[in-house]
């Protein structure tokens, strides 16, 4: 056990909002909270319930919370468009976004997607578009909402999925892996690192220790969660039940197992919390080329590796 905070030190209050509803995607933060890793570093943290009706970027911009998680592409977009936020710890190093197609639609290889109907989340269209450009595919794009019913019912031949989430939902809707063809964008050279921890630049200026302690405790939480999956799942399921979400433990277990692959990609050995400059530039360049942003923020202005700062 580490020593508790110094007696003279007050517990610092802070709030944190994950970018989506409670699920294993945020297991590290829930575990760090439940196991007292934040408290041990003197943070009295409140984790708010995220979800589609509570956009994290908006909450951060309106200074309702100190910390949020965001996709890297979202973070760059916000920063480039004038919101002074900082990436203070990149947790997910690999994109989990993929296309899943039904083999029964005659899709075996990338070229088979040509002329097919594909549903894409409007908010995550960059990678699929880059993929289509790269392989010169002309597809009929349909918008994709919060479910994969359109794909399941044959409305489209392929759909976007998060490998840790919707892909398993498809499997648990009765389709077998052998009936599906998965195109994992990170395997096709279109890797967008995803979840990172963000705060306002001003917050870092005012309370650098708080920010550093939050990142360190979160990383500690992640390390613990990936080491003790069943215990982590118990904690996640408490939050899931409290939110009365239509999900189940098997699904969350799948999600947690796949978080490991994208947080610590096999053979890459990237320290948790670090954003690699090349990865950053690749994503920013894609955003530029697609006209999402007009100027690329400097890597040094965007990312502060608090976990490894001297």
């Amino acid at each position: 056990m580490l020593a508790g905070p110094a007696p003279c030190q007050e517990l610092r209050k802070a709030t944190f909002l994950p970018q989506w509803s409670p699920q294993a995607q945020f297991a590290g933060y829930y575990v760090a909270h439940a196991k007292g890793f934040y408290a041990r570093r003197g943070i009295d943290l409140e984790i708010l319930r995220g979800g589609p009706d509570r956009p994290a970027a908006q909450a951060l911009a309106q200074e309702e919370v100190e910390f949020v998680t965001l996709f890297l592409s979202t973070g760059i977009d916000l920063r480039s468009n004038g919101l002074e936020i900082l990436n203070i710890g990149q947790i997910v190093q690999r994109s989990a976004l993929a296309l899943v197609a039904k083999r029964s639609s005659g899709i075996r290889a990338v070229k088979d997607l040509d002329g097919k109907a594909v549903s894409i989340w409007p908010d995550f269209a960059l990678q699929p578009r880059a993929f289509f450009r790269k392989y010169n595919l002309h597809v009929r794009v349909a918008p994709q909402g919060g479910s994969i019913s359109l794909f399941l019912r044959g409305g489209v031949d392929a759909a976007s999925v998060m490998l840790y989430n919707e892909y398993h939902t498809i499997l648990n809707s009765g389709l077998d892996p052998a009936e599906l063809r998965v195109f994992d964008f990170s395997h096709y050279g279109i890797n967008f690192p995803e979840d990172g921890i963000y705060c306002l630049e001003q917050t870092l200026k005012e309370s650098p220790e708080l920010c550093r302690d939050f990142v360190l405790a979160s990383i500690e939480g992640w390390a613990y969660a990936l080491e003790h999956t069943e215990e982590a799942l118990d904690i996640v399921m408490k939050h899931v039940r409290a939110a009365n979400l239509p999900t189940n433990r098997v699904h969350q277990k799948w999600m947690l197992e796949h978080m490991r692959d994208i947080i610590m990609p096999p053979g890459k050995n990237i320290p948790m919390g670090t954003l690699l400059p090349d990865e950053y530039r690749f994503v920013a360049k894609q955003l530029m080329e697609n006209g999402i942003i007009s100027s690329m923020p400097e890597y040094g202005d965007f990312h502060a590796d608090l976990a490894h700062a001297r």
Partner: protein, 654 residues
């Protein structure tokens, strides 16, 4: 002590019992299986009827809910409606169909009003009889264009039922929405303009499905098109778990296959074994159940009715238990009866065996157990009895015979002793005389023999000797020999010539010789002073003379055997013996002694033996020749009496 052998009775009983057991079990198993099939057929029938009836009830409601959006969509395509008209349509719809919880007409962006991106007037029932509530759907946080109920009919170009969802905004109930697309013709092209929906609360469905009871504790559940539980007795599963997540959590591949069949619109009757889906969730409880499932065509959902297997077969099992108990009791009774019958069969056998064992130990007076039966055992006992009697008689005869034989044997032994005592047996016979030495030996082939020899001093100066061989063997021969010897001795005492002796003895023997026996004899008299030897022969083989290292046959005048013809006459032959001569008399038992190959001892071999052993004196010579004969026969049984007599003349000492 041998181990007690497994009894015949036990083996018989066990084999019959085992066969009966096998037959009983086979019949039982067959009956059980057939009954199980029948029960299953009936259950399937019942479950199918119940399921289809329930499905039909649901479909009726669904079809009712489908009517409204279809009607409104058609109106929207044919007529321009004001906002008030639209609202009136919706309110009307909710009032006519009590199952419909809410309804909206949702337009494409700016389709209803160029100013408005979102336009979807929505009306739903208030809670607990509250009046209808009215509002507009659509905002930055509620982008209905990406909602299933809007997107599915738009992209697929046909009406559809959404997956059930938990409505946070509306009535806090699980709902499903039927959406019907409508189109507007603009610039000559028919373009999608929006959808008309009817929300169906699933509360009534859950009540309906949970009211299904079947076969005591059978229950029903409903899954959506994606396999998600819409209703289930276990509330924890509803909307959270799908049949596939349960299959994954429990590693139940069969359940996954059933789920795939269910969502593919199949129907069937199958056995599942799952601790979550089963009749009673929880460890240690029976989890095997039979499931009948059938699809709801309109929504693509599937209704399943589950019946615990244990309960299905409870009656059958209790019946089977009784049948098994009865069968077991019957078999036990049968064992008892079998044991009794076997005992009855085997007891006399055992008694018989016991008696036979006693008889086998030689106790032939043991009475066999009485058997009054006329069956094989009776026959066996009678055979045994006959055998015992026969054995007893046989053994009695044997005892008698043996006694007689023993008597005979002992008489023969006595006879032999007597016969041998006839013969001079003390050697040297005349130790005070050194003019000669004489040694003889007789070995009968049987207890008593027909050979004879004798010698005695007739006076101070004359030695009489005789050797003979009766034509037969055994007791008659022995008696004849005794007669002959006595006669010879009696006649010889008188000092007559050897030929005269033979004449007289022949006469005596021929008298009353009904047995037609005869005897060959050589007798002689030796003058011990002069060495003069007188010999007479009655059909006996010639004597041998060993003189100065050579053997010669003494030619004797021929004479008929004694006891055949009364008027047979004999002649005496005279000759001189010189000191050192050895006269050897023998019977044909010596030269005709045979070995295993029927080779005779032969005259030549006898002569060789005489030459070899002669110098050792009469006794040594006789013993050596006998030893040589025995060596020749090498243990073959003696077929004839053997007699040797050696007389060595040394001459008178001065």
């Amino acid at each position: 002590m041998r181990a007690k052998p497994r009894g015949l009775a036990l083996r018989l009983a066990l084999s019959i019992l085992a066969s009966a057991c096998a037959i009983f079990l086979a019949v039982f198993a067959y009956t059980y299986r057939e009954s199980e099939r029948t029960v299953l057929r009936n259950v399937e029938e019942g479950a199918r009827n119940l399921t289809l009836a329930t499905v039909y009830r649901m479909e009726t409601v669904m079809a009712g809910a489908e009517k409204l959006p279809a009607y409104v969509a058609r109106r929207l395509e044919t007529t321009e409606l004001s906002q008030a008209d639209l609202q009136a349509q919706i309110v009307d719809a909710l009032e006519t169909n009590q199952q419909v919880f809410g309804s909206t007409i949702a337009f494409e962006p700016y389709a209803a009003n160029p100013e408005q991106r979102y336009y979807a007037p929505y009306c739903c029932r208030g809670q607990d009889g509250q009046p209808l509530a009215f509002n507009y759907l659509g905002s930055e946080t509620y982008n209905y264009f990406h909602m299933d109920w809007y997107l599915l009919p738009k992209v697929m170009g046909r009406p559809s039922w959404s997956e059930p969802y938990f409505d946070e905004n509306g009535g806090k109930v699980v709902m499903t929405t039927y959406s019907h697309p409508f189109y507007k013709v603009a610039d000559g092209a028919r373009a999608f303009a929006g959808v008309v929906t009817a929300d169906l609360s699933l509360q009534w469905l859950r009540e309906l499905v949970s009211s299904i009871s079947f076969n005591r504790s059978g229950h029903a559940f409903l899954v959506s098109q994606a396999g998600v539980f819409i209703t289930h007795p276990n509330e924890q599963l509803v909307m959270r778990e799908s049949i596939f997540s349960v299959a994954e959590a429990t590693g139940d591949k069969d359940l996954r296959a059933v789920g795939r069949s269910m969502i593919a619109g199949g129907s069937g009757f199958t056995r599942i074994s799952n601790p979550v889906l089963g009749p009673a969730s929880g460890p240690g409880l029976p989890k095997d159940a039979w499931l009948y499932y059938a699809p709801l065509q309109s929504t693509g959902w599937s209704l399943g009715v589950l019946v615990p297997e244990a309960e299905l077969f409870a009656d059958l099992q209790s019946l089977s238990r009784k049948a098994l108990i009865m069968g077991g009791a019957g078999l036990a009774l049968m064992l008892f009866v079998l044991a009794a019958i076997s005992k009855a069969i085997v007891r006399p056998l055992e008694a018989l065996a016991h008696s036979a064992a006693t008889i086998a130990q030689g106790n032939l007076d043991t009475a066999l157990p009485p058997v009054r039966r006329k069956d094989e055992i009776g026959e066996l006992r009678n055979s045994f009895e006959s055998m015992r009697q026969a054995l007893k008689e046989h053994i009695a005869t044997l005892v008698e015979t043996t006694a007689a034989k023993e008597r005979l044997d002992s008489e023969l032994k006595i006879a032999r002793t007597i016969q041998m005592s006839f013969l001079p047996k003390h050697f040297p016979p005349f130790p005070e005389r050194d003019e000669f030495s004489i040694f003889a030996f007789l070995e009968p082939a049987k207890e008593v023999g027909g050979d004879l020899y004798d010698f005695f001093l007739r006076d101070e100066n004359h030695l009489f000797f005789v050797i003979g061989d009766v034509s037969d063997k055994g007791v008659p021969a022995a008696l004849f020999m005794a007669v002959t010897k006595t006669l010879i001795k009696g006649v010889a005492e008188g000092g007559t010539e050897p030929s005269d002796i033979l004449d007289k003895v022949n006469l005596e023997l021929c008298r009353d010789n009904e047995s037609m026996m005869f005897v060959t004899v050589i007798c002689g008299s030796l003058n011990l002073t002069s060495g003069e030897l007188r010999l007479a022969n009655a059909g006996h083989c010639s004597p041998l003379l060993l003189r100065q290292g050579a053997v010669e046959n003494l030619p004797l005048p021929p004479g008929l055997v004694l006891g055949v013809m009364e008027d047979a006459r004999y002649t005496t032959q005279r000759m001189e013996l010189q000191p050192g001569d050895m006269l050897v008399l023998y019977t044909d038992g010596v030269t005709e002694a045979m070995d295993g190959d029927n080779t005779l001892y032969s005259d030549e071999r006898l002569e060789r033996s005489l030459l070899t052993y002669g110098p050792n004196g009469s006794e040594q010579l006789v013993r050596a020749v006998l030893a040589d004969v025995r060596a020749h026969t090498a243990g073959e049984p003696q077929s004839d009496d053997i007699t040797l007599l050696a007389l060595e003349y040394r001459g008178k000492r001065t």
